[in-house]
Each structure stands twice: as structure tokens, then as C-alpha cells.
Amino acid sequence: MSALPRPAAIVVARPAIAGALATAYLSLIVLIPLAAVVVESSVDGWAGFWDAITAPQAVAALRFTVIASSIVVAINVVTGTIIAWVLVRDDFPGKRTVNAIIDLPFALPTIVAGLTLLALYGPKGPAPFDIGFTRVAVLAALLFVTLPFVVRSVQPVLMELDREMEEAAQSLGAGGFTVFRKVILPTLLPAIASGAGLGFARALGEFGSVVLISGNIPFKTEVASVFLFGQIESNNTRGAAAVSVVLLLVSFALLLVVSWIGTRTDRHAR
């Protein structure tokens, strides 16, 4: 193979400029705003921060949000993988359309999603059940807005997957499930984990789709973001910031775990 020799200067210079640009951009858009939230939360010192996040209503909202997000992610891991599988491995009329529909939850304004779910599955909806203003309704809204994450992270990996490995396993006598568990799943795992992590982070902070369909009752159906909104509207931005910091930390910890799973499996695969 004869690749063209690259000019050394560019190899050195480019990453420097790119790095500077990336840093400046990340700072403006992400790091400085996040830092501002942390600063705001700590205006009253550690004691004030602790009081804000241990207030019973805050704890209840945080707990409900984390549990609901976990359930939603667990469901997404299964259904998202199945949907990705069907989209990659199966052929059926209208496949392209279905494939395009997957991303629509990203495009639909979340408040419209909440309103639509409420109209369909609420007290006056055509559905034979009424989940309006319940915890189940919160799950439904979160499932809707987080659908694309696992599907879209698993799909490309599945497309690249080497079929020869599956065939080899089969020829050695492995059954369908064993092939899936021993050959396919380990390859998909980092992608599933990454989709799950993104979905979880998204669910933690979700506001628009949840606020209409949840009853917003403290200790029952109130999620963290709606609790925060109440604090802001009552002129308690410090309390709101404190609870936000907890959400950020939970998300950050989870995303670290996900990236750790990714690198570990990579090494494992090699």
C-alpha cells in the first residue's frame, strides 16, 4: 500500500487548533453554564446545599425520577434492541418509513408529546384505559421521548456485525439463543450501554412531556424537573440549583460507567 506522505506540519498544527476550538466551544456552551449552576447551588455553603437536597419533597422527587428513569431505560434496552434488530435483519414493506419514524420523538416538541399522550390515554381519551396523571403516565411520556437512544446506538453496530462469526458458531452446534448470548450480545453491549446511558440522562431532566400528563403531586407523581420549576417560580433558585446539581452528578456518574463498559469491552474483544 502506498499512502501519500503527509506533511508533518499539518499533523501537528491541526490538533492544536481543533483542540483550542473544541475547548472554547465546550466552555461557552456547556462548561460555563454547568459551572454557574454549581456556583449558584453553593451560595449558602455546604449546609444550605445539604438542606435543599435533603428536604423531604426534594428527596421524594429525586427518588421517583431516578426510579422512573431506571425502569424506562430497562424497558428501552429490551425494546430498543429488538427494534434495531428488526430494522437491520428483517425485510418488510414500509421499513424505510418505520426507520424514519424512530427519530420523530426527537423532533416533536415534548409539550406536544405530553398533550397527545394525555388526549389518547387520559380521562377523555379513546383508549379503554385511563392512565392520566399517574406514575404510569410519567413512564409512558419518558418512554416516548427516550425511544430513539438505544435503537440508534445499536442499529449501526448490528449492521457492521460480521455474520461469519454467527455462522461459525452455528456450524459448531450453537443454537439460536446461544449464538445471540455468546456472539452477538457481547458485541452489542457497549452500544446498548451507551444508548441506555444517554436515555437515562435524558429521562432524568425531562420536563415538557411530563409536566402535563403527570399529576405533579408531591411525593406521588412529582418528578425532579417539575419540583425544580416550582422552586424557581417561588424565587428559590438556590434550591433549584442544588437539586439540579444532584441530577447532574447522577447523570455524570452513569455516563462514566457507560464509557468504562465501552473501553472494557473493547479491550476484551481484542
Partner: protein, 261 residues
């Protein structure tokens, strides 16, 4: 609808028309509104209304007054008082009704707690509560009279009961000090409280700040009508009832968790 977090961090405005008096007081503190804004014939208010009880067509649960809202099996819709200025009027109407009936403060707080146990949805704004109610949830909607009338005018199937004891809602209006068109702004405010403009408000469901314009048929004066000044005015009420960290409503919200889990 009026907004509660107005021009505070410097968005240019000539006139502010807000939900509650303290919203304007806050602007006076920030020198965005002149301190004498309420030295007018209408005390700075542009419209009035009262808190009413919205019910389903034909009033199937036979709601007549506040006592009916704490009965078992009655679902009451009212927004979260920590996110909605409107809900604060509702809470003070419910509380004050008990005081008017001769109950003690403690009994009135107990009443509030009973009331909120019957609330299955605390929307974040009055508008959303109306939507929740017209969407089929709940037996009673605690609402402003003008909101109920607007809903009726839009063809929603809602009736309303004016309880004997209720609070007079007063909405302030003021010219800002930063107005670049102060004269025009003042002219607008003057017009808004003049008879022709007030007539329009009356048609749209508001009670006029000019008493003679309120027709007793549409806008009967409840026998036990009271004002927020009864409880020391909004500044006192905000601290005592609606402080997000320690107040009567905050404790009631917390009691909701204790009693159900």
C-alpha cells in the same frame, strides 16, 4: 393571563400588568416602578375578580360551597401554589372562607390540608388546570370567575358556583420608570381604568374597578367577600403561606407524602 416573573432582569417594558400586588412591589424595590404607583383612584388595580368553584354541567356532585370540597370522593383541581400565582389566590380564598365562617386559624389550616388531599392533579398554571378539568379530570375546579366565564364563552361545558365566602382578586397595572414612552404609557393605563375600557373587561368576565359597572346579576357580591389585606397583605401572606422552604403550604405539601406512604 398575566405573568408573574416580569421585566425583572431588564426586558424593556412601558407598562406592567401582573397577577399580584407584590409582583409590582418587587419592581418598586428594583426601582423599575415608581413607589406611588398605587396612589390612583383605583389603588393601582385595573381589574377585579373573585375565586369561584367550577363544576360539571348540572352540578352532579351538588357543590354549593367550600365544605363540599373536602367530602370524600370529591376531586378538586387547583394548580400548584408554588408554581402558579393564581393558585395562591385559590388557597387564600379557601383559607379565608374558613376564617369568615368563624373558624380558628388552626382549623383553617386543617381545612387546607383536607382540601389538598382531594387534589389529584396540581398543574403548574391555572390555564393547565382548566385544561385538565375540561379534559375530564376532577369534580371541582377552583378558578377565577373571569377564567370560568372565558371558558363558557369559548363553549366549554363548565358551570360555576360563587361561594358565599370568597376573596376579591385584584390585578395591578403600572407604568415603568424605564419607559421611553412614559406619556403614552400613562395614557394607556388611564384608558384601561376608564369607563369604556372597563366595560370591555366586564364583557370579558372581569369585575370592574368601577363598582357601578358590575351588574349584580352576572357579578353578585358574595355575602362573605374579603380581601387579602384581611391577612396582612401579600407580603405577609407570601412568607407565612408560600415560602418554598418553610410555610403553611410547604408543610401541607409535605404532609401529603406522610399520609399516603
Amino acid at each position: 393571563m398575566t405573568s408573574r416573573r416580569p421585566s425583572s432582569p431588564a426586558s424593556p417594558a412601558d407598562v406592567v400588568a401582573l397577577s399580584l400586588e407584590p409582583d409590582v412591589t418587587k419592581l418598586v424595590d428594583e426601582k423599575l416602578v415608581a413607589p406611588d404607583w398605587n396612589q390612583t383612584p383605583t389603588k393601582g388595580f385595573v381589574t377585579n375578580s373573585v375565586v369561584v368553584l367550577g363544576v360539571r354541567k348540572g352540578n352532579p356532585k351538588n357543590i354549593k360551597g367550600w365544605a363540599d370540597l373536602v367530602k370524600p370522593g370529591v376531586e378538586v383541581i387547583t394548580p400548584n401554589p408554588f408554581t402558579s400565582g393564581g393558585a395562591r389566590w385559590n388557597v387564600m380564598a379557601a383559607y379565608g372562607s374558613q376564617i369568615q365562617q368563624g373558624k380558628t386559624e388552626e382549623q383553617a389550616v386543617d381545612y387546607l390540608e383536607q382540601l389538598f388531599k382531594n387534589v389529584p392533579v396540581q398543574d403548574k398554571s391555572a390555564r393547565e388546570s382548566l385544561q385538565t378539568f375540561t379534559g375530564g379530570k376532577g369534580d371541582v375546579l377552583i378558578s377565577y370567575e373571569n377564567e370560568a366565564i372565558t371558558a363558557q364563552q369559548k363553549g366549554e361545558e363548565i358551570e360555576y358556583v360563587i361561594p358565599d365566602e370568597t376573596i376579591l382578586i385584584q390585578n395591578p397595572i403600572a407604568v415603568t420608570t424605564e419607559s421611553k414612552n412614559a406619556e403614552l404609557a400613562q395614557a394607556f393605563v388611564d384608558y384601561a381604568v376608564s369607563e369604556p375600557a372597563q366595560q370591555v373587561f366586564v364583557e370579558k368576565g372581569y369585575r370592574s374597578v368601577i363598582p357601578e359597572l358590575n351588574d349584580e346579576k352576572t357579578y353578585p357580591t358574595p355575602s362573605g367577600l374579603f380581601e387579602i389585606t384581611e391577612f396582612g397583605g401579600w407580603d405577609t401572606v407570601m412568607k407565612k403561606f408560600f415560602d418554598p422552604e418553610d410555610s403553611i403550604m410547604q408543610q401541607i405539601q409535605e404532609s401529603l407524602g406522610v399520609s399516603t406512604s
